[in-house]
Symmetry: C2
Subunit: 193 residues, 2 copies
């Protein structure tokens, strides 16, 4: 019997290999050759699954988004759901560092490519919706949509600034800023409400 | 007498032309040819001042940073100094839209180029310092460094999300979020203080 190759599974494995390269050495280090080596495959087999570097990077973006979405779903209903949704994107470990680097790369692509822009806008809108629903469950007195926009903006910008500035990264890794953000948002409610 | 050409002045004029092209049509539209046309010069003269597209973009980044810095200095001591420092970077008009687009382009470059990363980190650190000093003047009871980090992150991320998402941009242009951010920060102080 011929060996059954799970095409989707292989694409996932290769996307994971891209993310490992990105975590270790940055987006610049991603090439067909480096990813093939990381995955332990030949470049010939790799190009059966991804046409080239651009497709590998797009595959890694979607893989990172899917992993994050699955973690968001797993956090649903947890006591610290909201904190998990925000800390889930901070570059606090290698996985999330890769996530941030790959998103940052596509943020720039989004500035010049309409299809990428729409895809990135969709991810951000989903994230805001998930956070808004978590805010609604945890703090029903709050304007959930406004609070979610603030929290998502904070998490996204602080992550990006940490990638640019080792001092910000050190600060971030020394102590999560998320409890402070939640306090900020909640204290407003306790006055306004 | 020979005509005296002010080299710095010409470089500024060309950088301004790049920013106009970026405001109108995005970073993708920047080429030696399009900028020469915008400035009303020949490409031959242009390349006497900038070696090519990459140099033009870097010149525009530095020009945008310098213009913003000058506006920050002009705002110093004004009643609404803090609001000016934050609204100064929101893409609320064509000038600031170009500023945001050019910074976003270099954010991505920063992810893969050490010199660019250091330059961007420097701009962000300066911005945080300026905002922290304004917070200190306006709200002495606050932790100025922490408040500045929050405010700068909010302004930067909301600007970026507005570039990706027309709905966020429409919201931003309908009403500045800055008064709400300052209320958020200040209300925390009125409880903590």
């Amino acid at each position: 019997m011929p060996k059954i190759v799970d095409h989707d599974q292989r694409r996932k494995e290769l996307a994971d290999a891209v993310l490992r390269v990105v975590a270790r050495a940055g987006v610049n280090a991603v090439t067909v050759r480096s990813v093939a080596k990381e995955a332990g495959w030949s470049t010939g087999v790799l190009t059966h699954y991804y046409g080239g570097r651009a497709e590998l990077l797009l595959g890694a973006l979607r893989r990172a988004a899917a992993i994050t979405q699955r973690r968001f779903e797993a956090a649903r209903g947890a006591d610290d759901e909201l904190a998990q949704l925000l800390e889930g994107v901070l570059p606090l470990d290698e996985r999330r560092l890769a996530l941030n680097r790959i998103f940052l790369f596509f943020y720039a692509e989004a500035a010049t490519d309409e299809a990428v822009r729409a895809e990135i806008a969709g991810y951000l809108a989903n994230w805001r919706t998930d956070v808004a629903e978590a805010v609604e469950r945890a703090h029903p007195a709050l304007d959930a949509v406004a609070a979610a926009a603030t929290l998502v903006a904070l998490a996204d910008a602080v992550s990006m600034h940490a990638i640019f500035d080792p001092a910000v990264m050190a600060q971030l890794r020394a102590a999560s800023p998320v409890p402070g953000w939640l306090e900020l948002i909640t204290k407003e409610a306790s006055i306004a409400g």
